[in-house]
Amino acid sequence: MRRGEKNRTSQREGIAALQGTIMVFLLFSIVSDNFFTVYNISNVLKNSAVLFLVSIGITMAIVIGCNDISAGSVMSVSGIITALLLKNGFGLWTAIAAGLGTGILAGVLNGILIVWFQANFWVATFATYSIAQGAALVMSNGNGIAGFPGAFRFLGTGRLAGIYVIVYLAFFMGAGAWFLMKKTRFGEHIYAVGGSEEIARLCGLSVEKIKFGVFVLSGTLAGAAGILLAAKTNVAMPSGGAGYEFDAIAAAMIGGTSLEGGKGTIQGTAVGVFLITILRNGLTVLGISSVFHYLLIGLIIMGVIILDVTRTRVQERKKGGRRG
């Protein structure tokens, strides 16, 4: 009986976003003939995959009580590095390893700044954002690098049993992240540090190590997203990842991750990613200018914030009442 109650409360947070996503989905299916087609749905899934990868890392960073705004430009630079190596005749796996390595490096940089130098996470990840963006521009001379070998393109556009490879990749990464957050000691500690660093320390956790780990993970996932973005579009642009960090933050928030830290789930973020991608896709299919995409997504995030704040206020009032 009580266990049932608990499950209901923990799921309720994600459910509003899920209902919203389904409503938007149905709405587009009815309004447009071109939305609910096999072609378009697999397109939505493909587009969700890249955003989902970045969003996983950012969700972890937000749950631990920080944020990572470097992720978008880390995507760009790892895409550029992978592309340059491929163009210069290096093997597929070398190029991918270098791209991932770039992401890890960026995460380590964030971790050092935040843990070692005690820098504020906004400032630290902004510095990394700028460095990564700069590196991408310098290495590419400001130009996109296009045309990759088929094996590499297969990662982004190939299919297995009718479903894009990239979708499988995103699914497995998501499942892994869900497992990490939910079933492992490391995940438990991420929630603890996000809930209260002080209490976590009193419980004997090594707050620094856990934070460092989260930023390395976030960087790595951004690197992977950058590689897949290049594979998907067949071009690595020096600013290809720009803006992904904010879509990812929005996705996490829509999915119930609280910027206060200590609260949020991977499945919630997945819902947020779908909502944003479906909105973008649906509006494009309907032929509405991209100007309105920003407006609409902005309004939705605003709605989520207002809901979040009212919900906490109502909860606080309830608690105050109980005490008095």
Binding site: A192, G204, G262, G324
Partner: protein
């Protein structure tokens, strides 16, 4: 009082914070299977002593022995591994996590052969078992935030039990429990005692101590002034031990008071209820009481930081809406000098001059354009009563605590406040600067301003007050007129 079965022994512990010696060679012994009460007025050093025992704070001199072995804990983890657990007044549970997750936090069980992989089933099972053995039926999968404070405390104790702690320190465990919850807690303490745990019990509620404690140590200003079997002491003896004997000569002379300028009727809100008080022109009125009695909550509701839910507030004879804002209070000539000057009183990165005019900007520059020379002039006018020119040019963070307090005071004078609330005006301020603050307060009262002072410092209350309100458990339990103010009366109303 050496005893072979001592589980925790502290000998000659000395500790200072900046220049204040807060523990003066304190000895403390806890035996297995006893509840040892620790009593003392605010600032007597109880919590400091226990934080030293648990490795939260370092100490200057002395030795700590656990089960006869000398130890020197450098961290909470080390103390915990030696079997010490402290249950803090503000519970250290993660509100967003479940009960079992909190019990096992930092010491999670993992599946055999899979390091890092949580064994939730086993943790839930053991949590249920521990709670069951303690005599409680609580679903370990409940979210901690949904539990009442009493249940949270039980979880906190379960955490200590699971860690096999046999030295448990409880800091004011019953401060937010109902009578029934308290007696449940006492049953639990009795059971732990039976299993051989030594329990240090810090509390202000003397009646409780007679119920639960076996032995008592009373601290007064960092010194042990009584250690006895609980059955051999009386309440009067304890009160006397807590206060000692002080002679107060420098009592301020009787004030000439005018009409009432602040009146509060039946005010209630979060942490306090049914409070009525008044302050007249030229009067210094104190609110005293133990920590947690609701003093700061009351005055911050009067000022408008927290919102009161019932009652009436009158400023300068006019009724004020209950849910008013601080800026409304300032307009009505009420100012608050907060307890935490660094966080709430001053903007540290801004010059002293600009801090002084901060609250008066609307008044001085109604059109919104700020003139630097006018700022200097105004700040000088109010600041120089108390500060030297060279201090006016510094940043507030470079000033001593006393001078920071003077800056906050100048800030309120600049807004032409008629009523000033001082929350712990001399906390963390050295003796010489204290006297200066007192002199300024007297000067203000002489000018006809009304002062409401919240203070835990008995000496200051006795020395400065024209009247004293004593708060106890969220309401005003006693009003003392000038001729009635004695230390004994205050203390007996506090407890």
């Amino acid at each position: 009082m050496e005893s072979p079965q001592a589980v925790l022994e502290m000998k000659g512990i000395r500790k200072h914070f900046s220049e204040n010696l807060v523990l003066k060679d304190v000895d403390f012994t806890l035996r297995a299977g006893e509840v040892h009460a620790l009593l003392g007025a605010n600032g007597a050093g109880k919590s400091t002593l226990m934080k030293i025992a648990c490795g939260v704070l370092p100490y200057d001199r002395g030795q700590v022995y656990v089960r006869g072995k000398q130890v020197q804990f450098r961290s909470v983890t080390e103390a915990r591994n030696a079997g010490l657990a402290m249950i803090h007044q503000e519970l250290s549970l993660l509100k967003n996590r479940c009960v079992y997750e909190n019990i096992f936090m930092g010491r999670e069980l993992t599946k055999p052969g899979f390091p890092g992989l949580l064994d939730e089933k086993k943790m839930i099972e053991i949590s249920r078992k521990i709670l069951g053995e303690m005599g409680y039926e609580l679903d370990p999968q409940r979210k901690t935030a949904d539990l009442s404070v009493a249940w949270q405390q039980i979880v906190e104790i379960a955490k200590a039990v699971w860690k096999k702690a046999d030295i448990i320190i409880m800091d004011e465990p019953t401060s937010s429990l109902t009578k029934q919850e308290t007696s449940q807690l006492f049953q639990l303490i009795g059971r732990l005692k039976g299993e051989g745990c030594g329990i240090v019990y810090i509390s202000h509620k003397i009646e409780e101590l007679f119920q639960i404690a076996d032995r008592i140590t009373v601290l007064n200003q960092g010194k042990v002034c009584l250690e006895k079997e609980m059955s051999q002491v009386s309440k009067e003896e304890l009160l006397y031990a807590m206060t000692g004997k002080h002679i107060y000569e420098t009592r301020r002379e009787k004030a000439r008071t005018g009409e009432g300028i602040l009146r509060v009727e039946g005010l209630g809100g979060k942490g306090f209820h049914n409070c009525s008080l008044s302050v007249r022109k030229g009067e210094i009125v104190s609110i005293t009481g133990i920590v947690g009695a609701g003093r700061s909550e009351l005055v911050s509701s009067i000022f408008g930081i927290n919102k009161a839910s019932e009652g009436k507030i009158f400023l300068l004879g006019e009724e004020v809406p209950l849910r008013h804002s601080p800026s409304y209070s300032i307009k009505k000539k009420l100012g608050l000098l907060p307890e935490d000057r660094k966080k709430q009183g001053l903007i540290m990165g801004m010059s002293v001059e600009r801090n002084i005019v901060q609250a008066a900007l609307n008044l001085l520059f109604p059109r919104g354009f700020i003139s630097a020379s006018a700022v200097s002039e105004q700040a000088g006018k109010y600041g120089r009563q108390a500060l030297y020119q060279q201090e006016m040019e510094k940043l507030p963070e470079k000033l001593s605590g006393g001078n920071q307090q003077k800056v906050v005071l100048a800030k309120w004078l600049c807004t032409n406040c008629q009523i000033l609330i001082f929350d712990e005006p001399t906390k963390g301020i050295d003796a010489a600067a204290r006297e200066e603050i007192y002199r300024l307060m007297e000067e203000l009262a002489r000018q006809g301003k009304g002062i409401l002072m919240v203070s835990s410092d008995q000496r200051e209350v006795l020395q400065m007050s024209d009247r004293v309100y004593v708060m106890k458990q969220g309401t005003i339990s006693r009003e003392l007129k000038r001729e009635e103010i004695t230390e004994e009366k205050i203390i007996s109303a506090e407890f």
